[in-house]
């Protein structure tokens, strides 16, 4: 290193200081920009959300999995209710589509399902291009057909159906997808038709009764099958004898157990739907 300036002039120290502070300022600016882009929600929806859930009775899951209100059409096909989509004005003057409705005494929005990455699924976008019918996807219980719409006729034996787990007649489950045609990701749905649920709809009181009245039909209920703990898709209803899970919903990852016949009102902070 040849340095024309003598050490005593302090020039090297001065140049080092200038360069160092410039580098530090640059790194700080870049870091702030990254932090801004990561933490600033650029999407829509999200925030504090109240929803009706199947109760988490055991295991590490923080809260129950959200229910999906259902309807059964004249043909017997079962579909999930998606909140009504309206055009609303944004703060900047433009318009955007917003899904929101009052259902069973609660504000029902896609926020209910915006956790565990589902917030990025195409099916949760208000402008999703497709219908709301539940469809079999090939995976699931052994009795299921490999595809097509889920029809109530397939649950005719719901009060006698049995498999290796739980008592006969506590309900017949199915796994399906919802609003997942021509999307990158499929929303996993667990459908249960059960005489126990019919009894619960009769005996429930208060806001849960109002909700169940609106969200279930003929003993059929639907749940977004995404464990609130670490986002696994649980094995489902009647899939394990572990720790009394034979008549409940069992998640094989960390042994969370949900009771589908105990409906509770829960709240959580939903993620925003990413814009792109």
């Amino acid at each position: 290193m040849s340095d024309k300036y003598p050490e005593s002039s302090g020039r090297r120290r001065f140049v080092k200081g200038v360069v160092g502070s410039a580098a530090l300022a640059g790194a700080g600016t870049a870091g702030t920009a990254v932090l801004e882009s990561v933490t600033n929600p650029t999407g829509s929806g999200g925030g504090q959300t109240n929803y009706f859930a199947v109760e988490n009775t055991a295991g590490p899951a923080p809260r129950g999995m959200p229910m999906v209100p259902i309807e059964i059409d004249d043909n017997g096909d079962i579909k999930g209710v998606f909140p009504d989509v309206k055009e609303v004005e944004t703060e900047t003057g433009g318009t955007k589509k917003q899904a929101r409705m009052e259902l069973g005494g609660i504000e029902y929005t896609p926020n209910w399902y915006q956790y565990c990455g589902v917030q990025g699924y195409g099916g949760l976008r208000p402008d999703y291009d497709g219908d709301n019918y539940f469809r079999f996807s090939g995976a699931g219980y052994s009795w299921q057909p490999s595809g097509g719409k889920v029809n109530i006729d397939e649950f005719d034996d719901y009060d006698t159906w049995e498999n290796d787990y739980g008592d006969a007649g506590i309900g017949k489950p199915a796994k399906a997808t919802w609003r997942s045609q021509n999307t990158d990701n499929t929303i996993p749905i667990l459908i249960i038709r059960s005489p126990v649920l019919e009894d619960r709809v009769e005996s429930a009181e208060g806001e849960v009764a109002e909700w169940l009245e609106a969200a279930t039909d003929q003993g059929v209920m639907a749940i977004v099958n995404k464990c609130t703990h670490f986002c696994c898709a649980p094995q489902g209803f009647r899939t394990s004898n572990y720790e009394g899970a034979e008549d409940k919903i069992y998640c094989q990852c960390h042994q969370s157990i949900y009771d589908p016949f105990s409906i509770v009102k829960k709240s959580f902070v939903a993620f925003a739907r990413p814009e792109n």
Binding site: P60, C116, N185, E243, C253
Partner: protein, 254 residues
């Protein structure tokens, strides 16, 4: 030197020579046929090498050097290159013959029925499931100080930390378990605990009550350690006697 002692000029034929002259080195058959046995042979071997070393040092052109070792090039590098080439060749060979396995991309909408890591990580996976040991503190109103997942990670740190300090607690001078029954039984306990905690990690697939398998995971290792300690302690006297017998045969006390 008395008269009946053979002189250096006479070749001794009775097999008692300590260092044989080069042209009279006995064959291995001859050595085996001697009845003095292994101790004599060992003694001769070391004496012979000591003598050769001494001769070398007494030669006029012998120069004492500070460092006596193999040079890096070519000795070390040629050997290392040969080993490296072998393993690189094996990798290329296996890469060429076995088709690469690329599974389906992960599908977040389905989860496999069996959730377990590779078998050699079962012990660590079991340590993540120690939520039953995480105390609910009365001072926090029955709350846990640590989340169960943090507690599980800390359990891994504790176990790995203990294994790391064992070499500082015990230098490992014993060559056989009987020499240090205590430390041997600590080792037995650790190995058995690795197996029981591995079994506990698969508790959902065991035909046991999960609470029972949890209790067994912590009860079996100390029991195995105690049994190992008792056995080794009992064996020790006889074993050490046998060892000493061999040792003093080889090197008789002065």
């Amino acid at each position: 030197m008395s008269d009946d002692q053979p002189t250096d000029e006479d070749a001794r034929t009775d097999g008692t020579g300590i260092v044989s002259p080069d042209d009279e080195t006995p064959t291995w058959r001859e050595r085996k046929e001697r009845t003095t046995g292994l101790s004599r042979l060992t003694y001769e071997y070391f004496e012979r090498s000591r003598r050769e070393d001494q001769d070398l040092r007494q030669e006029s052109d012998y120069v004492e050097r500070d460092v006596l070792a193999f040079p890096t090039w070519p000795h070390e590098l040629v050997r290392n290159l040969a080993i490296t080439s072998f393993f690189v060749g094996m990798i290329l060979f296996l890469g060429a013959t076995l088709p690469p396995h690329l599974g389906q991309p992960a599908n977040p909408s389905t989860t496999p029925a069996v959730i377990l890591p590779d078998w050699y990580l079962y012990w660590s996976f079991g340590l993540l499931k120690l939520s039953a040991l995480n105390p609910e503190l009365a001072i926090l109103g029955g709350q846990k100080l640590l989340a169960d997942r943090t507690f599980g990670v800390l359990a891994n740190v504790v176990v790995v930390g203990f294994i790391a300090i064992v070499p500082f607690l015990n230098k490992g001078s014993a060559r056989r378990p009987v020499e240090q029954p205590f430390w041997a039984s600590v080792g037995v306990m650790g190995v058995v605990f690795a197996f029981t905690i591995s079994a506990y990690s698969a508790k959902t697939h065991l035909p046991l009550n999960p609470h029972l398998s949890f209790d067994l995971a912590f009860l079996i290792p100390p029991m195995a350690g105690a049994v190992a300690y008792a056995i080794l302690k009992t064996m020790r006297e006889g074993y050490m006697y046998d060892l000493n017998k061999r040792y003093y045969k080889l090197r008789p006390p002065k």
